[in-house]
Symmetry: C2
Subunit: 192 residues, 2 copies
């Protein structure tokens, strides 16, 4: 019998989404967001939920653009710092020694050192209470060539992404072992 | 210099969300969804995007309830099967040998063998094209006691969740090593 716990936002694992935006004065900024996920396949959309207190919230409202950058495991400290301080008081690119490159498709910066970024145009935003959900259409992907597989798609074993254990597991983890192929291993459970 | 790729929904890692619902005739069903994430902290909400073609879409529309169950790594084949076949033709609980238990809080089943489930009430649904995003308020959590930490919260190292590498990495993976504590390791990059 399961026991009942109070409601909490325990999603295991939670992604580490580094949101790139431009400030009104053109300064590039990054923040670390965990509340988000793919929202739709056609059109390809991603959602990211942000508090109104963040600089990124206001940057997206103004530019209607953002990037979602995925750090590889060697950048877990840089990712963490991007979630601890505000771009209002700090230049997070300088502090982390990361390099902003303007996206070719949207009005937002891409993190050069990270393996790939989704380039997004704001489609809608929905106020849900403490957080506002921003839904962005993925217009393109900016990727480092060495993390692609033979089909020219980012490969998880080359990207080596990190993720976050929310609530009570508040740490960064890397990818472990491959267990089996999706849309395939389940067949073993079907009767002959 | 990064290269440009066509837009695709590459989120690494993507969660494995096993959505529990009741059919109109009371039969419990599960499906495997990857498009979703936490949407808001207060109220605590999660989003899950589903195609209208799925049975789960219609079950949630009718019951306005669902659970989000997190399989531990030993259940990766069961999770995969739940994403390969439809509850319209198959009893997925029977085929996977998993056990439905009625949630104490919402009108949806919880998977007994999985470590924990978020119990959700539908708040709103938003048609985004191929997918409709369902936003559910997390009313409570049903958890197996042995996966909790000392603060009575699900612990990632006890849950041993799985995740999915979307697009070009279409396989299940488990959790690797802990890299460092969140909201902590970033400080090492700050000037003295």
């Amino acid at each position: 019998m399961k026991i009942s716990l109070p409601p909490q936002t325990v999603l295991l694992p939670s992604p580490v989404l580094i949101i790139g935006t431009y400030c009104p004065d053109g300064k590039p900024n990054i923040m670390n967001a965990a509340w988000g996920g793919i929202a739709s396949s056609k059109p390809p959309c991603i959602s990211v939920s942000l508090r109104e207190a963040t600089l990124t919230f206001h940057n997206i409202m103004q530019t209607e653009s953002f990037t979602v950058n995925f750090p590889s495991e060697k950048y877990f400290k840089e990712a963490d710092l991007a979630g601890m301080i505000s771009g209002r008081e700090h230049d997070k690119f300088k502090l982390t020694n990361l390099t902003p490159e303007k996206s070719k498709l949207v009005n937002a910066p891409v993190v050069k050192e990270f393996p790939y970024a989704l380039e997004c145009k704001l489609v809608q935003h929905i106020n849900l209470g403490m957080h506002t959900m921003f839904i962005g259409e993925i217009i393109g992907i900016a990727a480092n060539e060495e993390i692609l597989n033979s089909k020219q798609v980012p490969d998880i074993e080359k990207v080596r992404p990190i993720f976050w254990g929310s609530f009570g597991s508040s740490a960064y983890y890397n990818v472990g072992e491959k267990l089996g192929d999706a849309f395939a291993v389940g067949k073993e459970l079907l009767p002959e």
